[in-house]
Amino acid sequence: MEKINIICVDDEREVLDAVMRDLDYFSDTFNIEECESAAECLDLLEELDAQQEYVAIIISDHVMPGKSGVELLSEIAVDERFLGTKKLLLTGLATQADTIQAINDARLDHFLEKVWDPQTLLQTVKELLTEYIVEQGIDYQAYIDKLDAPTLYRLIKP
């Protein structure tokens, strides 16, 4: 099976732990990585790219010391190595200007507000993951029990 990664970025340890707990459903099939800053995430991306692993989803907080989440995601959005990577912003503190930038520059795939509902986060990640796998042409059959069936039905074309 292909190595497919989900990356979570947040400067608060407790938030990362909570996200990891909510995404535990995926942990036996996919690789879930934790980063405590944007810089750490960018380093990790270089490493994963060097190993030619897939980066399916980046779930990022916005307000962090150093580079902000929107800045991080904007940078990734124009990196042709991660063209298909799904970007999810998970934040409680985004101004309207941040949100506009997140949509226009970071090309967000999804926006979730803190505090989030674990079920919603799980379902969102499921749908994004399904889209990523089909769009990348990865054999979805190997992952089918972790994917979102309605999304799969919508995306399979003759």
Binding site: I144, P150, L155
Partner: protein, 473 residues
């Protein structure tokens, strides 16, 4: 650890052992080196398709490449420089490479173009909307409608794409079912079952049919229309049985359902051209005797039309399921190697098949095919079994009273499409299972019953065809 790696070790080691054995150990008189190598390639293909260490289409490519290396005139030096008597008959490289573009592959390519254009211009979903209307709102009849439409679509589109489309129509409706309503199971299962069955009705319905066409040539040839003459009634009977079975096993308690499909028929010039080409191609396929064109030639017409009018553009072209085409090519290449090397004929002569009762052969081969198709890809099953079965069928005189070669090939081909008792049996099954509405055991129950009934209906059909003189001598 060792057990886990067995699927990688066996396909490498066993063929090598076979190559290392002396030629006399196979019990076939005068086995040539080429024939010896064909046995090794066949064993490798069988192990790779059953154990799936690599994708199934990659196995097909391996077959073709190994044939080119080991049994073609332009292969490796040590494989081609021995004394002709020992070496046997080498194949021309063009014969092997041509399997990638055999008429059968072109027929499928034409089918893919039709399906892609129909889906792109929403002909499929709009037809589904219109055709479902007469079935009203009673769950039982809506399900019948759904199954009929799924089956008809899967005659011309891939079973997987049809299933995905119909399940996506169905998903919002299933939310209205009660949590305990068994009708959800019936509806979710009805789609893959109908798609699996529907593929049987036409030569382009499903890849195993394509593989069968390779063995239905010359005096045994079956035209597109002839195939449908027995394929469509078979599918109709099976659908009716499947519907009754699903309604009896999982009766819906909900009293009214409303499938709400949005949209309207496109009326742009391109869309109209798609409709005309679609209908025109099918009519030409059905009226082969009038215009003289074979179904293979007809299949190239939509390819030309859709390319010229940019209905299928460069991006669409990239999205064609080349893996399916290659999978079939490998099967054809395997058949070509068995046949052209002379191995098929020699092996049949060496084994006293004449002592077998011909009915035992038809029943046994079909049952084996059904069993294998439940656990592995239907196409790979057909790829493996049909060349063997076809060689037998062509040589067994005692088979003639029972419909001969054609009866045997058809029975095995139909059986390959009837394996549907597990989520892994077919991609449509996997998609339906992913919905989370059905349990393993429910799919198993339905799949086993339909498989067995399907086998019996197949035998009945072959018997009738033979009695009516449509197949056989």
């Amino acid at each position: 650890m060792f057990r886990e790696n067995l699927k990688y070790i066996l396909p490498v080691v066993l063929p090598l052992i076979i190559l290392a054995l002396p030629a006399s150990s196979f019990g076939i008189d005068g086995l040539t080196q080429v024939e010896h190598r064909v046995i090794a390639i066949f064993v490798m293909a069988a192990l790779c398709w059953v154990l799936e260490p690599i994708p199934i289409y990659a196995t097909s490519v391996l077959i073709i490449v190994f044939e080119l290396l080991l049994i073609s005139e332009n292969g490796l030096w040590f494989a081609t420089n021995d004394h002709p008597d020992l070496q046997g008959k080498l194949l021309a490289q063009s014969t092997i490479m041509a399997t990638f573009a055999s008429p059968i592959i072109m027929l499928f390519l034409g089918g893919f173009f039709l399906a892609m254009a129909a889906s792109k211009y929403r002909l499929d979903i709009n037809l589904a909307r219109v055709l479902l209307r007469p079935f009203g709102h009673k769950p039982k009849y809506v399900m019948l409608g759904l199954m009929l439409i799924t089956a008809v679509f899967s005659m011309f589109m891939s079973n997987t794409a049809t299933t995905a489309m119909m399940l996506s129509i169905l998903t919002p409706v299933l939310a209205f079912f009660g949590a305990k309503d068994l009708g959800k199971v019936a509806f979710t299962l009805s789609v893959p079952v109908a798609a699996n069955i529907g593929g049987i009705a036409t030569p382009i319905g499903t890849p195993p049919n394509a593989v069968a066409l390779k063995y239905l040539v010359d005096q045994y040839s079956v035209s597109f229309a002839q195939w449908m003459v027995f394929g469509v009634p078979f599918v109709a009977v099976m659908l009716l049985i499947a519907w009754l079975l699903l309604v009896a096993l999982f009766p819906p308690t909900i009293t009214k359902i409303d499938l709400n499909i949005k949209g309207r028929f496109l009326k742009t010039p391109k869309a109209l051209l798609v409709y005309i080409t679609f209908i025109g191609t099918i009519l030409l396929w059905l009226m082969g005797e009038l215009h003289g064109m074979s179904s293979y030639v007809v299949a190239m017409i939509p390819v030309a039309v859709f390319s010229s009018f940019k209905i299928i553009n460069k991006e669409d072209l990239r999205n064609i399921s080349w893996d399916v085409l290659w999978l079939v090519s490998g099967g054809i290449a395997l058949g070509v190697a068995l046949d052209k090397s002379g191995l098929a004929a020699n092996a049949i002569a060496a084994i006293p098949f004449a002592n077998f009762h011909p009915l035992l052969l038809i029943v046994g081969a079909s049952a084996l095919c059904l069993l294998m198709a439940n656990f592995m890809s239907n196409t790979a099953t057909a790829n493996l079994l049909l060349p063997l079965v076809a060689a037998l069928g062509a040589s067994m005189q005692s088979l003639l009273p029972y419909g001969g070669h054609v009866a045997l090939v058809l029975a095995v081909t139909f059986s390959a499409s009837l394996g549907m008792s597990l989520p892994v049996s077919t991609p449509p099954n996997a998609l339906a299972y992913a919905s989370g509405h059905i349990k393993n055991t429910q799919m198993l129950k339905v799949g086993v019953v339909i498989g067995i009934i399907g086998l019996l209906v197949t035998f009945a059909m072959v018997f009738l065809l033979n009695k009516m003189g449509i197949i056989g001598a």
